[in-house]
Symmetry: none
Subunit: 377 residues, 2 copies
DNA sequence: ATTTTGCGTGAATCGTACG
DNA sequence: ACGTACGATTCACGCAAAA
């Protein structure tokens, strides 16, 4: 895995070499996240992923043109008296996040224009060093029903290290493989969380702001390594925990609503960890084609760990988490490995590799077509 | 054109009713932008578009509000001090921008993750109300050569009104037309400025951060009207002026570098204004000529006594001679009765009620459109 | 069984004029 | 500063019901 930049030496993060309290791995801590984080030792986690309240400040009710009611975020946890109050809250949880992060760890925060500018400025003031801002471009956002503004079709994530000179983890090669051999950009197109993935209780959504697993998948695959500890101070229904388990990362959550904690625990229990070979991500350079095979893995159209094979059954391979394939000692992109196994100069992996899908054997290109049909036109 | 929300009345923006200094339209003001803006009358411009310096370490570009120089010589410079200086500079120019903006005017700022979070938080603190954050997704960004981060493939714009209750201009219909009859979203894909458009002096680019005209075109078309005054405090090579001229908007620039001023003047002179007919944009119903339902009855397009019904045939009503509807005991306007029968708080009668016209079932809005077509000058 | 149509819904700062 | 009346406004996706 890639380690970038020099190791930062700061007194505040010198690891305590004496006996340290054990980390509550795989646990959801009860109560206020700031209090909960205080119970954790300093410099002990590799990543913090935070989806704090956005402080939306919504007005009255909103109706669609057809008269139906928009189910808005009206929860108390999103209410703050003023920008100053929100800022104080933000400083408090960020300070704890900074304390528990290892010097080489990194921070992710997601937000919208309501809060993200404040969060970004505060974390800069605290010494965090912004590495990228990432735009999650929603494939299917809610429209602006009244025609008063531009459709609010994205959210923003900030990725920051502990300081300008800090090392941090960035799995460049895995990201490039995931993006079909093009550098991963700062704008990610992903659908919002809906369908089977959206957790419902009695027909209603269990949590108003559940994030898609594909988003966390990319975040974690890009900036943590297997076995790393990921802390989510605003755990909600546990998307972070579910993805961490799938990707072989350790996790700790904080969540003060008992209902969300229950939902999260049940959900994470059902998340199946990927096996060892699927988790190994590409380490070296390869060459390959166009529409990302990795995107199909990330979005769950093809699960990591899935077996693929050629039409005559002479070659088999396993899909890894970053969209690469592994077959015995050999690995590569769908195209590279196909060529290697056949001893051919090149291979169109999309038509070479097949998959069993709904009881039928289909080329993986068929899955791509399904994805394209479902997302593009 | 659309005006949204109530007119804000604040003392700070009460227009001076006495003689006002004339606006220096079509001029590039010399010197520091904060000083230059001080020469402009309060509440006099409709839009401010600002592309402030991004890089916090451009010591030469940073001056404190009192004019003193920000010392940025030492390599190990104090981040907090530099952020504070940048914030002071930002507050100073935003305060002047706020003073010169009309109560119904709006502000645009473009930036990257280096500065946009600070700018956004500060403008919120000053009372500006964020309407959208817009992501300019670069079609052709510079790659990340070292492979240490995600390719930084976007910049962020903030669009803000003078306050929560302020009116602002948003040409919804023009944007929808521009976007192939779909609502314009908050993510815009546009190429960076290059090729013929990129101004060069002796082979080298004349300005390091020249923005594409397409970006300003969309900004101005969306949020100003013909004849509006647009102020750009960081004029550079005058993209704002060139697009303003093309779109029939007035402009004022501030730029302290003589070289940029010369380039901008020459460039804007060559920009050809569009003719009147090209400038006419699609109007929303809100601003299109109003047609009362009663007028259609009065003029015989819909006869009194005609039966109207909702699309699913659950409700029927009869048109009365005064343009009201009656259904059993209930009556009212097309909107009021529609709402009443559905038990809804409101209803768009134009699309709710249908009529049989030439053997087809059509919303009554279709008849209004026919009327408009037939009576259009 | 397969295709078409209908309907519900998603982190939303979502109206204006005139009494 | 209210209240009240008028009237303008939606995209993509998942799933269920119907054809």
């Amino acid at each position: 895995m890639d380690r970038v930049a020099l190791k930062e030496r700061t007194r505040e993060h010198a690891p305590a070499m004496a006996a340290r309290p054990p980390l509550p791995l795989g646990q959801i801590l009860d109560g206020d996240c700031i209090e909960a984080m205080r119970a954790l030792p300093s410099a002990s986690v590799d990543m913090v992923f935070a989806d704090p309240p956005y402080n939306l400040q919504l007005g009255g009710d909103l109706a669609r043109p057809d008269g139906s009611h928009v189910d808005a975020v009206t929860q108390d946890w999103d209410k703050f008296d003023s920008f100053a109050a929100y800022d104080a809250f933000t400083r408090a949880w960020l300070a704890e996040a900074r304390r528990v992060l290892k010097p080489d760890g990194s921070l992710w925060v997601i937000g919208s224009y309501h809060n993200i500018f404040r969060v970004g400025a505060i974390l800069q003031d605290m010494g965090f060093w912004i590495l990228n801002d990432i735009v999650w471009r929603k494939a299917n956002p809610m429209p602006n029903f009244k025609g008063t503004r531009f459709t609010n079709a994205h959210e923003t994530l900030i990725w920051a290290s502990m300081g300008e000179k800090a090392r941090y983890t960035f799995n460049y090669r895995a990201m490039k493989t995931l993006n079909d051999e093009l550098q991963m950009r700062s704008d990610w197109v992903l659908p919002i969380c809906g369908g089977q993935e959206r957790i419902r209780k009695g027909g209603a959504k269990a949590h108003p702001t559940q994030k898609p697993e594909a988003l966390l998948y990319r975040v974690m695959l890009a900036t943590t390594n297997k076995g790393d500890v990921v802390l989510d101070p605003f755990f909600g229904t546990g998307t972070t925990g579910a993805v961490a388990r799938r990707l072989g990362r350790e996790w700790i959550g904080c969540e003060r609503e008992p209902v969300y904690r229950d939902v999260a625990r049940e959900r994470i229990e059902m998340a199946l960890p990927l096996d060892e070979s699927s988790l190994k991500t590409m380490q070296s350079a390869r060459t390959a084609p166009k529409v990302a095979f990795g995107l199909l893995v990330e979005t769950g159209w093809i699960a990591a760990g899935t077996q693929v094979f050629d039409r005559k059954g002479r070659h088999r391979a396993t899909v890894r988490a970053d969209g690469s394939l592994v077959s015995g000692d050999a690995d590569g992109s769908i195209h590279g490995l196909g060529a290697k196994l056949q001893g051919a100069p090149s291979c169109n992996g999309w038509t070479f590799w097949h998959i069993e899908h709904q009881g039928e054997v289909k080329p993986v290109d068929a899955i791509r077509q399904l994805y394209l049909l479902a997302t593009e036109p």
